[in-house]
Amino acid sequence: MANVSRLSLGQKRELLRQMYLIRAFEEKAEELYAMGKVHGTMHLSIGMEASAVGAIAALRPDDFILSTHRGHGHCIAKGADLNQMMAEFMGKETGTCRGRGGSMHIADPEKGNLGANGVVAGGIPIAVGVGLALKMQRRDQVVMCFFGDGAANTGAFHESLNMAAIWSLPVVFVCENNQYAMSFPVQKAFRIARISDRAAAYGMPGVTVDGNDILAVYAAAKEAVDRARAGGGPTLIENVTYRWRGHSKSDAGRYRTREEVEEWKRKCPIQRFRQRLIEEGALSPEEADRIRDEAYAAVEAAVAFAEASPEPALESIEEGVYA
């Protein structure tokens, strides 16, 4: 992992900060939902923060991502303005998407986030198109496409990985294997142990990494991004991780045991990285606490911004259907 050692102390702190921000954002999201301040549903990535932050850390600011219904982490890691993002979550006019998208459809084009997606695997074919355009335009950017284990069993996955491979497009496919497609476990959904093994069928490299080890995630992503940028084509990365919360707000958790969830909570990616930095002497516990506290404070400020923001005007309801 030569390239991991090249991460500066400042970069490592930034990774920790982003993971805390995501955790803080999602805990607040859950709280706001419980208080009845947001409606609809949401899909929380608590416990999966290392996958989003580690992978996106390998990108440049002008690179692109396609995200998923469980996309808060990707959005924050790609540099979203937290105020606008919270405002979007709360359906406000000042939101990233003027309150029209909500949790499941946050996009932030200025930051290269081409959108979360309400459809499982919905973003994968789009990522291929982004990669195709980047190649046609001879730009040196890459696109990273997130999706879950469930998406890896769709036709869109097959068509897209094949197209990206045959045209050698600058796309990095990141499968966040969080063990369940809603309630359906990977053990029942796959006859292979590693989803990344499917890469071979498309003629692209595939790698499975511990998705709760942020440096391992970063290292794999960096290698894939560098290859894509150099014209070496796509890669399939599988980040093995776990979502602590239910699939969505309707999840009664009947498909897994409390013990299993508790076991994964002991593998918390944030605690793990924090501990590592402290043990390396890169960070004192007090400094780590300050990073955490600042993240939670930033989220509180975002809530204040969002709550003070106006609702979309009813007269604007039909705006924006056509460009």
Binding site: G115, G122, P125, V130, A156, S160, M163
Partner: protein, 328 residues
């Protein structure tokens, strides 16, 4: 004026737009050396190269997704779905993604592409290669739906569609590809949302789409011999729809016959009828609004059955005659 076939007019529109704008490219199954299943893109790969005329695997969903993604980062793709029936395979990307991105993202992104697709029966290809599914897409906010009936309209509407900033479903009819008509050599646009009065008349208004415009015009010629003057209106774009031209014609004639190939139930004719009766034209109607459309059956293989599944010239003549003579 110089004459071209409908297929040649489409090809010329593609060529001229690709020459004008390097962001425009063609993508689809067998659109390269094969020229597309109906030969529409023949010769373009030789002129523009494989990078701008992209043959794809048989992956309709992937193709429309690739168009969507490419459009998001500044390209203007023109895709081809070999038969409109296969648009079912791509509809997730078309309906849930491309159509909604501009709205869902608060207007921050746009998806300018054209999805060309041959529709319609009459080729003996039976139930899975003959459908007219345009009205599904009329129902989706964010999509535009265009259905040219002549070579002239095909060229002008396609250029306008390529220059439009929204996803456009461009429905071609297989039986029209060889139909010839005058087409100017220079590029020109027909604004989306402008209907065309293909023939003026005083006794009834026939509103027809796609190949039914050609059949309605033939029927109008026969009707004229009986002293019945039919006005033939071609909406040309189903969405946006030029309601004004339609309403104006209905106010003039007081009688309406709607003709389309797609199945009657849930077809665009219902929308047209509703637009008319909701408007001021209602007070001018002298007879019920009549729809002549495809039967509510899959397209059969047998030649005779296929022929009688969708409206033919004699069906239009008969229906128009009854309507004009007050026998409905």
């Amino acid at each position: 004026m110089r004459e071209l076939s409908y297929a040649e007019a489409i090809r010329e529109a593609l060529r001229q737009e690709m020459q004008r704008d390097e962001r425009v490219f063609i993508i689809g199954e067998d659109v390269g050396v094969y020229g597309g299943a109906f030969g529409v893109t023949l010769g373009l790969v030789e002129e523009f190269g494989e990078e701008r005329v992209i043959d794809t695997p048989i992956s309709e969903l992937g193709v429309v997704g690739a168009m969507t993604g490419a459009a998001l980062v500044g390209m203007r793709p023109v895709g081809e779905i070999m038969f409109m029936d296969f648009i079912t395979l791509a509809s997730e990307q078309l309906v849930n993604q491309a159509a909604k991105i501009h709205f869902m993202f608060g207007g921050k992104e746009k998806v300018p592409f054209v999805l060309r697709t041959p529709a319609g029966s009459g080729t003996g290809a039976a139930a899975q290669h003959s459908q007219s599914l345009e009205n599904w897409f009329v129902h989706i906010p964010g999509l535009k739906v265009v259905m040219p009936s002549t070579p002239y309209d095909a060229k002008g509407l396609l250029i306008a569609s390529i220059r439009d900033d929204n996803p456009v479903v461009f429905v071609e009819h297989k039986l029209l590809y060889k139909v010839r008509g005058p087409v100017p050599e220079e590029p020109y646009t027909i604004p989306l949302g402008t209907a065309d009065v293909k023939r003026e008349g005083r006794d009834l208004t026939v509103i027809a789409t796609s190949i039914m415009v050609q059949r309605a015009l033939q029927a109008a010629t026969l009707l004229a011999e009986e002293g019945i003057e039919a006005e033939v209106i071609d909406p040309r774009t189903l969405k946006p729809l030029d309601k004004e031209t339609i309403i104006r014609s209905v106010i003039k004639t007081g009688r309406v016959l709607i003709v389309h190939e797609a199945c009657k139930t849930g077809g665009f004719g219902g929308e047209l009828a509703a637009v008319i009766v909701e408007s001021e034209a209602f007070d001018y109607l002298d007879a019920p609004v009549i729809r002549l459309a495809g039967r509510d059956i899959p397209i059969p293989y047998n030649r005779t059955l296929e022929y009688h599944t969708v409206p033919q010239v004699e069906d239009i003549v008969e229906a128009a005659r009854r309507l004009a003579q007050g026998r409905v």
